[in-house]
Symmetry: C2
């Protein structure tokens, strides 16, 4: 393998695949990046066997071939290279790559390309297309509600529930649930009813690396899923298990409706969340809704906060308490000026939605408090 | 105490004094900030008994008085306050401060102001003035060479050697030495010959918080030193002990002179420092100077770098090795385009200076290498 390229192209490839590089030391070659030169393109691949990322950049190929380089050293070196013509040549006798730029030479030891695990092409029991900006937004609006508790793996992932041409993206940690729906573009006559649980890391990476405008092709089977565009492909295992019926937990009737300015509520809650329970670090906020005023208070041994904000309110007077974090997490991702909170009682789920869109629903369970 | 003020003023005061707040839990009140309202100013003080910082901001004083608030909560709250009129009132019965803004109230528990240790006014065996920008630069050009090894405290500080109206600022960790000199403005007829060792934390804080244009008044005795402007004052203990005679270690004669582009040398060394010794994490670079070329190389089990850069050179051909970090540290703070390196031999100190200024000298000891 011998190629001529630029710092910018090398850096783009490394940054795209880097989060798939294994951080465990059990299989040394997985701490590397596979470089493959073919048809005047350089292909980058990395995998930790849970997730695999591939991408390619244009280069001048003097001879084709492949090699694996240690990601940490290769990435640090590329970051420090000058903005000049860079030549990479694989020297099989020494299992090393010779990198030349200006009047300088770096030799970096690697592994033979053939020893790197193959990242499979999926046949695809299902396939559809989705717009990249839309998928990014859907991920942003739901990913914060996944569980970080590994003892119940299904909740560490996000459900892709595909009903005909609707994708329901659902996450929950059993205290709150985020549900975003959108239309997808089916590529054949099939009508799907699929439940796929995708690791949150995969979706975070997807949101990070998808930069192109073209639709993302999604396909896979019951064990693996892939997301691909012209230049980039992510492949990931799916999480096994059955996700709970999320539609069942959304209440049908409400007995109170609050309309409030999103940013006003957010900044009040940020101050109220200052006073946390020293034992578990949580901050409990009490909401008292009366007339057209929302009173928010919280307290700890250190002090207390008490604020009133104007709202539009229809329904019965109510007191209800929440974990402040569960309210703040969703307020941070809502861009609309006005927010609707539907209430069903002091000890029953509350539902948050934006004033103008019904494609996003956030359910949050209240806390029972002694106060 | 009752005052009316703004978020901006409170934030400025907190940020100025915050690094003096004690991070140890032994004396709880030292985790707080003393607030004192007097003559339509609010005075902020914090100290960990090693360093004390004070500053003041204009406020509207409705009643004078003082109180200590827990720094962590007070600072987080102020950051989250809205940009509106803020009232602070001390409620002595509850030892708490009532903070009002808009239709909101926060109560924060504190300590009585009288219990906070007094930060002393120094009489001053010596006193002089220095320009703030100059002092900031002097600190930046030397502070990186202090030792982080607490077993020899004198090297964790910086020497202020005052000879008549010259301030010599000197730091060393015994492997390298940085020496910056500048003129100061004496405030009386005294001619000083003083050696004061100032903790590096004090100088870092000084460089961080001095924002005003007016000269800094420096005064103190053999145990403490203070730096003050109209609004801000830092007081610090001095480090006891005798600093080595730094002038003695600078060679008188050289047998080689390199003139090189600072940025070219820096970027080459950054690449060369990639290959570190796995045992101690250091990177050793070998410099071979021949004709008008500087060859820089380094290697480890992972690979090697070999670069040539053009230089102006006068003297005997020489090979010399350095810890790459000790060269990079000084290159990062040099702003001049050209750098002079004076050599005295492969195993003798090298001296770095900029091409146009003789007020900064950096000495670096070479390494004995087996290669």
């Amino acid at each position: 393998m011998k190629i001529i390229t630029t710092k910018e192209n090398l850096l783009y490839g490394i940054q795209t695949v880097q989060k798939a590089i294994s951080t465990k030391n059990t299989i040394p070659i997985l701490s590397g990046i596979l470089l493959k030169a073919k048809d005047n393109r350089l292909f980058f691949s990395a995998t930790d066997l849970e997730i695999g990322i591939q991408c390619s950049v244009p280069v001048q190929t003097l001879s084709e071939g492949e090699v694996v380089l240690p990601a940490r050293y290769f990435s640090e070196l590329v970051r420090k290279l000058p903005e000049t013509k860079i030549t990479l040549e694989y020297i099989p006798e020494n299992i090393e790559v010779k990198i030349n730029y200006g009047d300088a030479e770096v030799n970096l030891k690697g592994w033979p390309g053939e020893e790197f695990p193959v990242i499979p092409e999926l046949e695809g029991d299902y396939s559809f297309e989705i717009q990249p900006i839309l998928l990014k937004n859907m991920i942003k609006q739901t990913i914060f509600a996944v569980s970080i508790d590994d003892t119940r793996p299904i909740f560490t992932g996000a459900l892709f529930h595909i009903e005909e041409d609707i994708l329901n993206l659902v996450t929950t940690d059993t205290h709150r649930l985020a549900w975003r729906k959108a239309k997808i573009n089916l590529l054949n006559e099939n009508k799907y009813d699929l439940n796929l649980i995708i690791p949150s890391k995969t979706l975070n990476e997807l949101a990070r690396i998808i930069k192109e405008d073209e639709p993302i092709l999604v396909k896979g089977d019951q064990n693996q899923i892939s997301f691909q565009t012209n230049e980039t492909r992510i492949i990931s295992r799916l999480i096994e298990g059955k996700f709970p019926n999320y539609k069942q937990v959304i209440p049908n009737n409400y007995n109170g409706l609050i309309r409030v300015k999103t940013k006003t509520l957010q900044s009040t809650l940020e101050r109220a969340s200052l006073f946390v329970n020293e034992k578990d670090g949580t901050s409990i906020v009490k909401l008292v809704i009366k007339d057209q005023t929302l009173n928010i208070s919280s307290k700890s041994d250190v002090g207390k906060v008490d604020e009133n904000i104007p709202i539009f309110f229809e329904g019965q007077e109510i007191e209800i308490s929440f974990n402040a974090k569960y309210l703040l997490d969703v307020l941070k991702i809502i861009e609309e000026e006005d927010l609707i909170i539907n209430l069903t009682g002091s000890l029953s789920p509350a539902i948050l939605q934006t004033a103008n869109h019904d494609n996003f629903i956030y359910l949050i369970l209240p806390l029972r408090t002694s106060a």
